[in-house]
Assembly symmetry: C2
Homo-oligomer: 81 residues x 2
Protein backbone atom coordinates (compact mmCIF):
# COMPACT_ATOMS: atom_id res chain seq x y z
CA UNK A 1 0.00 0.00 0.00
CA UNK A 2 1.26 3.43 -0.97
CA UNK A 3 -0.10 6.90 -0.48
CA UNK A 4 -0.14 9.39 -3.32
CA UNK A 5 -0.81 13.09 -2.72
CA UNK A 6 -2.67 15.20 -5.28
CA UNK A 7 -2.49 18.96 -4.68
CA UNK A 8 -4.97 21.08 -6.62
CA UNK A 9 -4.53 24.85 -6.68
CA UNK A 10 -6.19 27.59 -8.71
CA UNK A 11 -3.97 28.71 -11.60
CA UNK A 12 -1.89 31.77 -10.65
CA UNK A 13 -3.84 34.03 -13.00
CA UNK A 14 -7.21 33.07 -11.46
CA UNK A 15 -8.43 35.25 -8.58
CA UNK A 16 -8.73 33.30 -5.32
CA UNK A 17 -11.38 35.00 -3.15
CA UNK A 18 -11.02 32.51 -0.28
CA UNK A 19 -7.27 33.01 0.00
CA UNK A 20 -7.72 36.75 -0.35
CA UNK A 21 -10.28 36.84 2.45
CA UNK A 22 -7.83 35.01 4.73
CA UNK A 23 -4.95 37.33 3.80
CA UNK A 24 -7.10 40.38 4.51
CA UNK A 25 -8.33 39.00 7.85
CA UNK A 26 -4.83 38.33 9.17
CA UNK A 27 -3.80 41.88 10.18
CA UNK A 28 -7.13 42.35 11.94
CA UNK A 29 -6.40 39.15 13.91
CA UNK A 30 -2.94 40.31 14.92
CA UNK A 31 -0.82 38.56 12.29
CA UNK A 32 1.62 40.56 10.21
CA UNK A 33 4.25 39.72 7.60
CA UNK A 34 2.02 37.78 5.20
CA UNK A 35 1.77 39.17 1.70
CA UNK A 36 -0.65 36.66 0.17
CA UNK A 37 -2.55 33.45 0.84
CA UNK A 38 -3.93 31.01 -1.69
CA UNK A 39 -6.24 28.16 -0.79
CA UNK A 40 -6.47 24.88 -2.60
CA UNK A 41 -7.30 21.23 -2.11
CA UNK A 42 -5.21 18.28 -1.03
CA UNK A 43 -6.21 14.68 -1.74
CA UNK A 44 -4.63 11.65 -0.10
CA UNK A 45 -5.12 8.67 -2.40
CA UNK A 46 -4.40 5.25 -0.87
CA UNK A 47 -3.37 2.70 -3.47
CA UNK A 48 -3.95 -1.01 -3.05
CA UNK A 49 -0.62 -1.76 -4.72
CA UNK A 50 2.75 0.00 -5.08
CA UNK A 51 3.07 3.54 -6.47
CA UNK A 52 4.74 2.45 -9.70
CA UNK A 53 4.62 4.36 -12.98
CA UNK A 54 1.38 2.67 -14.09
CA UNK A 55 -0.38 3.53 -10.84
CA UNK A 56 0.88 7.13 -10.90
CA UNK A 57 -0.36 7.43 -14.47
CA UNK A 58 -3.81 6.34 -13.30
CA UNK A 59 -3.74 8.89 -10.47
CA UNK A 60 -2.74 11.62 -12.93
CA UNK A 61 -5.69 10.67 -15.15
CA UNK A 62 -7.92 10.75 -12.06
CA UNK A 63 -6.63 14.22 -11.13
CA UNK A 64 -7.14 15.42 -14.69
CA UNK A 65 -10.69 14.15 -15.06
CA UNK A 66 -12.12 14.13 -11.56
CA UNK A 67 -10.12 15.98 -8.88
CA UNK A 68 -9.11 19.14 -10.74
CA UNK A 69 -10.91 21.45 -13.12
CA UNK A 70 -8.00 21.99 -15.49
CA UNK A 71 -9.59 25.06 -17.04
CA UNK A 72 -8.92 27.00 -13.84
CA UNK A 73 -6.80 24.67 -11.68
CA UNK A 74 -3.32 23.11 -11.75
CA UNK A 75 -2.51 19.85 -10.02
CA UNK A 76 0.59 18.03 -8.86
CA UNK A 77 0.87 14.31 -8.10
CA UNK A 78 3.57 12.93 -5.81
CA UNK A 79 4.24 9.86 -3.73
CA UNK A 80 4.25 10.63 -0.03
CA UNK A 81 7.44 9.99 1.89
CA UNK B 1 10.05 36.23 0.32
CA UNK B 2 9.35 32.64 1.30
CA UNK B 3 6.38 30.36 0.78
CA UNK B 4 5.06 28.25 3.62
CA UNK B 5 2.60 25.43 3.03
CA UNK B 6 -0.11 24.60 5.56
CA UNK B 7 -1.88 21.28 4.96
CA UNK B 8 -5.12 20.74 6.86
CA UNK B 9 -6.70 17.27 6.93
CA UNK B 10 -9.55 15.79 8.93
CA UNK B 11 -8.25 13.71 11.83
CA UNK B 12 -8.03 10.00 10.89
CA UNK B 13 -10.91 9.09 13.24
CA UNK B 14 -13.27 11.65 11.65
CA UNK B 15 -15.41 10.40 8.76
CA UNK B 16 -14.65 12.21 5.49
CA UNK B 17 -17.76 12.12 3.29
CA UNK B 18 -16.14 14.04 0.42
CA UNK B 19 -13.19 11.68 0.21
CA UNK B 20 -15.49 8.72 0.53
CA UNK B 21 -17.71 9.96 -2.30
CA UNK B 22 -14.65 10.26 -4.54
CA UNK B 23 -13.39 6.78 -3.60
CA UNK B 24 -16.79 5.27 -4.36
CA UNK B 25 -17.12 7.08 -7.67
CA UNK B 26 -13.74 5.87 -8.97
CA UNK B 27 -14.68 2.29 -9.98
CA UNK B 28 -17.76 3.61 -11.77
CA UNK B 29 -15.47 5.96 -13.71
CA UNK B 30 -13.12 3.17 -14.72
CA UNK B 31 -10.42 3.58 -12.06
CA UNK B 32 -9.37 0.63 -9.96
CA UNK B 33 -6.72 -0.01 -7.34
CA UNK B 34 -7.64 2.80 -4.95
CA UNK B 35 -8.61 1.74 -1.44
CA UNK B 36 -9.39 5.15 0.09
CA UNK B 37 -9.36 8.87 -0.60
CA UNK B 38 -9.29 11.69 1.93
CA UNK B 39 -9.82 15.31 1.00
CA UNK B 40 -8.32 18.26 2.84
CA UNK B 41 -7.16 21.81 2.34
CA UNK B 42 -3.84 23.26 1.28
CA UNK B 43 -2.86 26.85 1.99
CA UNK B 44 0.08 28.63 0.36
CA UNK B 45 1.17 31.44 2.66
CA UNK B 46 3.57 33.99 1.14
CA UNK B 47 5.74 35.67 3.75
CA UNK B 48 7.18 39.15 3.33
CA UNK B 49 10.40 38.08 5.06
CA UNK B 50 12.36 34.84 5.42
CA UNK B 51 10.81 31.65 6.81
CA UNK B 52 12.77 31.72 10.07
CA UNK B 53 11.64 30.13 13.33
CA UNK B 54 9.74 33.26 14.43
CA UNK B 55 7.81 33.42 11.15
CA UNK B 56 7.04 29.69 11.23
CA UNK B 57 5.78 30.10 14.80
CA UNK B 58 3.40 32.79 13.58
CA UNK B 59 2.17 30.57 10.75
CA UNK B 60 1.61 27.72 13.22
CA UNK B 61 -0.45 30.06 15.42
CA UNK B 62 -2.37 31.12 12.32
CA UNK B 63 -3.06 27.49 11.39
CA UNK B 64 -4.15 26.73 14.95
CA UNK B 65 -6.55 29.67 15.28
CA UNK B 66 -7.73 30.38 11.75
CA UNK B 67 -6.94 27.78 9.10
CA UNK B 68 -7.72 24.55 10.96
CA UNK B 69 -10.48 23.50 13.31
CA UNK B 70 -8.27 21.55 15.70
CA UNK B 71 -11.24 19.73 17.22
CA UNK B 72 -11.63 17.73 14.03
CA UNK B 73 -8.59 18.61 11.89
CA UNK B 74 -4.80 18.16 12.01
CA UNK B 75 -2.42 20.54 10.28
CA UNK B 76 1.20 20.49 9.16
CA UNK B 77 3.35 23.53 8.41
CA UNK B 78 6.41 23.32 6.15
CA UNK B 79 8.58 25.59 4.06
CA UNK B 80 8.21 24.93 0.36
CA UNK B 81 11.30 23.82 -1.52
Amino acid sequence: MARVIVDVMLKPEILDPQGRAIARALPRLGFSGVSAVRQGKRFEVELEGPADEAALGEVRKMAETLLANTVIEDYTVRVEG
